[in-house]
């Protein structure tokens, strides 16, 4: 019961996005609105750390050289309460990240949207599956 | 005044050649927990050298010879220096009661403290020992001149450690005094110079891990009848005793042989330096307290002054060299 309702709420939130009112820090001071990017790569490591978690993603450039991008995501704590563990998103998962690059120009970014290779949205929150539900990586 | 009298009157020589402690009739008083009581103030000041002087062939002096040797030593110690010479630049030890003869000192018929080997000399150095000595000299050379930096100066000038605490405990030239206090399971020996304390457990505990190394090593004691036997290892090797290494083992034996005398014997075992073990025999004489706080490092203006002096001299020499060059 609770799960389903939570999902519904979550989807509404997904649909509408969330403002940065409750951000731990000023994102726009860290990342550059003028450097939007779209990264496609495979997960090397998900640092489930606070205040923000970080996805290390191996991204190939046109010469085939792999660059390790560090992409900022949210605090893992609520996800853990919802049952997510370090095994939920396995190393090697293919991810597409829309986001913005760090202002200092290094290979760091904030992940505005994390999407799986099949186009489904990576949704780590309280999803239990279902046809219309956001995708939960097993 | 009192001390002068003490020094002069205590003319009874330590009968170094008399039979060993075990057979003596004297039995030390006991502490409340039954240990032989070594407590009180003691000195190991002596005019007897560790090694037998060259030319002396006997192990024991006659009392007259001993008296004469002491007199000679006292005279040497208080020989007047020539005003205006480098040697004269010091305060007068006698004005501060610091020459040995002004306080209690140990009299000994022996011509050397070393009793074994029988020649009264430290045994030959091993090949490893020679190599180590050469290495040490090399390191010292790298550090530069004695007054190039605080670290290159002598340990005693730096107030790190002096000759007294050992082990083995040696005459420190002045203030060669010790305060022994006993508690159940422990004997504590406070060395006056730089207030160095040895707290010796008697409860049979093992030596600590070889990684734990100290300037004075780590000591473990036990009573063998009237005698306190103390074995010390775990030296850090930074205060070599007559060239010893960090592998030295010192065995000390304290036996109270009279109300005013503790017989003190020690054996040095350091195969890294010497071809054989060697032993010495001395004594500690009852003396007068108190031991006033010998805070050394805290008031060690001398170290600062010598460094400043050395730097000034260098500057002066440089300036003079420049002057010469410009002429």
């Amino acid at each position: 019961m609770r799960m389903k309702l939570a999902i519904a709420v979550a989807v509404v939130a997904v649909l509408l996005g969330v403002t940065q009112v409750r951000a731990h820090h000023a994102f726009a001071a860290e990342f550059d609105v003028n450097k939007p990017l779209n990264l496609k790569g495979t997960l090397i490591k998900w640092e489930m750390v606070n205040p923000h978690s970080w996805f290390h993603i191996g991204v190939k450039d046109k010469d085939g050289k792999v660059h390790t991008w560090m992409v900022e995501g949210g605090s893992p704590n609520q996800l853990i309460r919802m049952g997510v563990t370090k095994n939920t998103v396995p190393v090697g998962t293919e991810l597409v990240v829309e986001g913005y690059q760090a202002k200092d120009g290094t290979e760091k970014a904030v992940g505005r949207n994390f999407v799986l290779a099949d186009g489904k949205r990576l949704f780590l929150g309280g999803s239990a599956g279902g046809p219309t539900d956001p995708v939960k990586v097993k | 005044m009192k001390r002068l009298v003490l020094g002069a009157v205590a003319a009874v020589f330590l009968a170094a050649s008399v039979p060993s402690a075990q057979t003596r009739p004297y039995k030390a008083p006991r502490t409340p927990d039954g240990q032989p009581d070594l407590q009180g103030f003691w000195t190991n000041a002596t005019y007897t050298p560790l090694e037998r002087p060259n030319g002396v062939t006997k192990a024991l002096y006659t009392p007259e010879e001993a008296e004469a040797a002491i007199k000679q030593a006292i005279q040497r110690e208080s020989a007047q220096t020539e005003p205006g010479t480098t040697a004269d630049v010091h305060y007068d030890f006698s004005q501060f009661g610091l020459d040995r003869s002004q306080s209690a000192f140990v009299r000994n018929l022996r011509t050397s403290l070393i009793v074994d080997p029988p020649d009264g000399k430290i045994p030959p150095v091993t090949a490893e020992g020679k190599r180590r000595l050469a290495e040490r000299a090399e390191e010292a050379k790298k550090l530069g001149g004695r007054w190039d930096s605080a670290e290159s100066n002598q340990l005693d000038d730096r107030c790190l450690i002096m000759a007294g605490p050992g082990p083995p405990m040696m005459d420190a030239a002045y203030n060669s005094n010790y305060h022994i206090v006993q508690a159940p399971g422990y004997v504590m020996i406070l060395t006056e110079m730089i207030h160095d304390v040895r707290t010796i457990p008697l409860d049979g505990r093992a030596q600590p891990d070889a990684k734990v190394r100290q300037w004075m090593g780590v000591s473990r004691g036990r009573w063998e009848g009237e005698t306190l036997v103390v074995e010390t290892t775990n030296f850090n090797g930074k205060n070599p005793f007559r060239g010893s290494t960090e592998n030295m083992k010192v065995i000390e034996r304290f036996t109270r042989v009279a109300d005013d005398t503790i017989e003190y014997k020690f054996t040095i075992d350091d195969p890294s330096m010497w071809t054989r073990t060697w032993s010495a025999e001395s004594a500690m004489r009852k003396t007068v307290g108190p031991l006033f706080e010998h805070a050394c490092h805290e008031g060690n203006l001398g170290l600062y002054n010598t460094l400043v002096g050395a730097r000034l001299e260098e500057k002066r020499a440089q300036e003079e060299a420049l002057k010469k060059g410009s002429k």
Partner: protein
């Protein structure tokens, strides 16, 4: 090697003649049996629900935070701190004296030590990890709740929840790990896994990997002391499990309390000072 099984063998060995085989199989571990572990049995006062009462503010008094292995006194790594920052000698808290590192791991420890001013997480005000938090020199408070026992440390406000009932595996790796607890007679046994590989055991660079498994045993030994015994297992770093042990002392001042050591701001200039805006030239 399964430590717990060996502990069982040890107990057997004490009471039954003829279990020597088991004892031999666990030979190395048995050799580590601490003197303290054999202290005469003491029965602690009980909480109202019948558990040994470990509530209180506790503190270690030793030099383990400098180096858990035996060590001589040594100069301060920071020149300006002189004697105040120098290392006091210690007999060590590791049973047997030496941590059984794999050869490569010992090399890494030595590198850690050589670069400790840059690498020691303590200097950066990072959470101290386990068991370092226990003997870091700061007090910590045990709060024995009904389902959870809290270990609240003064340093960096580090805190551990020991799950006594609702036990799960660590959901993710963390500095202080994920602790499940149980009572064995007088002893609180805390089993902790789920560590990251970032904390150290001491200022000497002794370290572990994320495979670290820590079993701590808190046993009352008198009204105001606890025996604290720790078994460390980490096959990526050590050739076998090993133990450390020490007493913990109760802070008995009437007004004793854990105060703030919110050290982040003490480390910020060190961490981020190089990113400070330079005055316009």
């Amino acid at each position: 090697m399964n430590v717990r099984r060996c502990e069982g063998a040890k107990v057997q060995n004490r009471f039954l003649i003829g279990t020597m085989t088991a004892a031999v199989a666990c030979g190395v571990l048995l050799a580590l049996t601490s003197v303290m572990a054999q202290a005469p049995a003491y029965r602690a006062p009980r909480t109202p629900d019948g558990k040994p009462n470990l509530n209180g503010i506790w503190q270690a008094m030793n030099t383990a935070n400098w180096n858990i292995e035996p060590h001589p006194a040594a100069p301060s790594p920071v020149r300006e701190l002189g004697a105040a920052g120098a290392v006091p000698a210690g007999l060590g808290v590791v049973e047997g004296g030496e941590i059984p590192y794999l050869p490569e791991a010992r090399k890494k420890q030595q590198e850690n030590y050589a670069n400790r001013l840059k690498l020691d997480p303590e200097i950066k005000c990072y959470l101290p990890g386990v068991p370092r938090a226990t003997y870091q020199g700061f007090p910590f408070q045990i709060i024995q709740g009904t389902k959870h026992i809290m270990l609240v440390h003064e340093f960096a406000g580090a805190v551990r929840t020991v799950y006594m009932t609702d036990q799960t595996e660590a959901p993710a790796d963390s500095w202080m790990g994920w602790s499940n607890g149980r009572w064995e007679g007088e002893t609180l046994v805390v089993d902790t896994k789920g560590f990251n590989d970032l904390s150290w055991f001491d200022r000497a660079g002794n370290f572990h990997s994320e495979a670290l498994h820590v079993v701590e045993r808190f046993t009352p030994r008198s009204a105001e002391t606890l025996n604290y015994e720790v078994t460390i297992e980490d096959p990526k770093v050590f050739s076998r499990p090993w133990k450390m042990s020490m007493p913990l002392y109760k802070r008995v001042e009437r007004n004793a309390q854990i105060l703030e050591f919110r050290c982040v701001e003490f480390a910020e200039d060190l961490l981020y000072g190089h990113l400070r805006k330079q005055p316009a030239k």
